[in-house]
Symmetry: C2
Subunit: 229 residues, 2 copies
């Protein structure tokens, strides 16, 4: 029904509209043309073009000069793409042995293969994972996300133990850096000291004491461990 190009626009609009409105909401926030152009590394004119096509297909609501938002159909499509993307990432990492910073572009290709049957079977084969290798939630077939307690590492008080559950940046340089400092999903981190001046912190990872910059800490998501009394 929809082309690759259309699907990529839907994904971009979904992403931007979620960023505009972090809390999961029934409605889709309105995003400006320019933001889409930037996100997709294309010209604003091309965006206007495509948006008009998507609007004709009732995948987005569009009023000239007012920005775009996804219709329910459009959002469901975007969420299914996200589902496929993240399931493929799990296959690539868990089964094929790719590193977590190598799978994004491949999943970007694979997600466009449309087949509910394939998606279902992939999900089953992988054991219906709820999160992908970066800790992002995988929507289920109905488009529902699994919620989870998570905060940026910067929010932890000293002497708190926490488990890494996700990242807020997916760039290869960032993920490589995490590899270098021993941070990975499911690793335990214990905060020793916080420097509020620059949000950097001293932490304990695998028994090693390290300093993590604020820039990095802000992009690590953790789930605090309840303290044993």
């Amino acid at each position: 029904m929809s082309t690759r190009a259309e699907e990529n626009y839907l994904k971009a609009i979904y992403k931007l509209s979620e960023m505009a409105k972090p809390k999961h909401d029934r409605e889709s926030a309105t995003v400006p043309t320019n933001a889409i152009a930037q996100e997709m590394h294309t010209s604003a004119a091309s965006v206007t073009d495509m948006i008009q096509r998507l609007s004709d297909k009732h995948l987005v609501d569009y009023e000239k000069y007012r920005g775009v938002s996804l219709t329910e159909t459009g959002r469901n499509l975007a969420i299914q793409l996200l589902r496929r993307h993240r399931l493929w990432e799990v296959l690539l990492v868990e089964k094929l042995g790719f590193a977590w910073n190598e799978v994004h572009d491949l999943a970007e290709e694979l997600e466009h293969v449309e087949s509910p049957e394939l998606t279902d079977r992939l999900d089953t084969f992988l054991g219906s994972p709820k999160f992908d290798p970066h800790g992002d939630p995988i929507p289920n077939a109905e488009g529902k996300f699994t919620l989870r307690q998570q905060v940026p590492l910067t929010d932890l008080l000293p002497e708190t133990l926490a488990v890494v559950v996700g990242v807020r940046e997916h760039s290869s340089p960032f993920l490589n850096h995490l590899d270098e400092i021993g941070v990975a999903i499911h690793k335990e981190i214990c905060v020793r000291e916080r420097f509020s001046y620059d949000d950097s912190m001293r932490v304990d990872i695998d028994g090693e004491l390290r300093t993590i910059s604020g820039k990095v800490a802000r992009n690590i998501l953790v789930k605090p461990k309840p303290v044993m009394k």
Copy 2:
């Protein structure tokens, strides 16, 4: 480097040129425009169009009104597509649990994801299979096919035991029919009687005696079992 459309043309040309010249040969046989058009369900004019582009890219050799043949580059590309196609089919059947008649169209999509790394890892994950679920040989990374002794079921003499190793037809109706009569890859078949009039035969499958029409028998490939003395 090459688009999806170009890749599909290369595959079609490869297929036709192999059919024209069954023995594996260094050279690629010349195929007529019309044959490609039929194979791809498109118009002859479109074929001429695309062939000119492929010729500009040195993927085919082309002389007006003379037909096309693949260059070495073109043939290598086609063989890599075949490799990916068949590896994906193995994944779909062996790991995801699809039936052998359900995987062709999906593999047709998946094969276009170009990544030597992905292909390699897929191959390793699947245990470097030499044949796909229909018994077709999977070329290795160097493009070499595993050869194997195989003959159409119609070639067997009565009282010969053989193992089904492949099919020469991939249509769903044909594969479904095989399912119905209990024929599957690796099944043993024992020929009891041959009727040369119409090539039909009485065979033993799983201890059950059945009649197989010539049309069906011709499309079943078997490897005769050496007779115990």
